[in-house]
Symmetry: C2
Subunit: 215 residues, 2 copies
């Protein structure tokens, strides 16, 4: 079983996107130093990451862009299409449903859910909307792997229960709630936007911002 740490996957994911860009620009090779510059990390970190993923270039020569991209795609499964859904069609949820940033990177949003009938009837969206109680049914039926959770706090518990029931494999949690308990055995990643703002706010209040910390 391939274990790769979180920071490493994050960097490799960013590298994967970068390689796509470089391909367009008809760059054939790229060194770890180049990559480090683009991504804002140390070159040795990049080499270590590739090594962790079991990817190896040729000593002395730079990495070949096309093969490196393919290898990352293969080892980490980035190429695969993943069916996804959005839970909670509020401001943020609608925006995510409608945006096209996901498609280009392999995520296919196929459904939206909300508990408010009014929302279901009035919101115009590209994908089909369903009432929240249908989450287990539709998730299972359509083989949805990833859920993007954008409900208000009081809707979190029931949503997670339904997703678990439907057999979802991962939840991207935009709520401030801690769902790891309820979502045992499912991958969870949290993005608390306001929390990020608060951290930023603290950092920016320090007179001397030498450490420009990244996520």
């Amino acid at each position: 079983m391939l274990f790769i740490s979180n920071p490493t996957i994050e960097r490799l994911s960013r590298l994967y996107i970068l390689l796509g860009e470089l391909e367009k620009d008809v760059c054939s090779t790229v060194s770890s130093a180049d990559i480090g510059n683009y991504l804002g990390v140390k070159r040795t970190s990049i080499r270590k990451d590739l090594s962790f993923a079991g990817i190896t270039g040729t000593a002395g020569a730079s990495y070949r862009v096309s093969t490196l991209k393919q290898e990352i795609e293969h080892k980490l499964g980035f190429g695969k299409k993943r069916k996804s859904c959005v839970i909670g069609i509020g401001k943020l949820g609608s925006a995510l449903l409608d945006t096209d940033i996901f498609e280009s990177r392999g995520f296919d949003i196929v459904a939206g859910f909300d508990s408010n009938m009014n929302v279901l009837e009035t919101r115009k969206t590209r994908v089909r909307l369903y009432p929240a109680y249908k989450i287990p049914e539709i998730v299972r039926q359509d083989n949805i792997e990833i859920a993007i959770l954008c409900v208000p706090l009081k809707g979190v518990d029931i949503s997670v229960e339904r997703l678990v029931e439907g057999g979802v494999k991962g939840i991207l949690n935009f709520t401030a709630a801690n769902i790891s308990e309820k979502a045992k055995g499912i991958a969870v990643k949290n993005i608390d936007i306001v929390n990020n703002l608060q951290v930023l706010s603290f950092q920016s209040s320090l007179s001397d911002v030498t450490s420009n910390i990244q996520v």
Copy 2:
């Protein structure tokens, strides 16, 4: 100069919100073990965090909710209102402009910017919208401290330049670009949603998700 590590600020920020909730529920005291349960972290980690921030309870007794909240607010400056703006009024930008999640936590969005005149004329938003070239002027004039960056990749560089010119203090970067170079001396925090999805996707593809990793 108070240095507090990123993970610690993140937890204290979450704790601050939690204490607000507990106050509503008329809880007068709370132990580090309780807090740990709520936030999904070890109790000793909480005690360490408070210690880092120079906050101390009374040995033997639990923490008093109201005073703990006040102390965090005081030490980390969470109480202060921070003027903010959104750069790029696309899908995500509009959603963030319109949402009310910020206000309740001290962030006051006072302006939006976009380079597309059409957007400026047609989008209905609560706050005033300005053309992008006015960023330096308005940011300085209105004392805007925080910028939320939601522009497409090709608009990133010029946006950051303008923000720096206006003297902004922190940027919450929703683009996939690495802006730390351009934003030297300014606090930056990155939220790459699709990158998060990709990491999640990798984790969920592992059969055994014992480590339910958090951000």
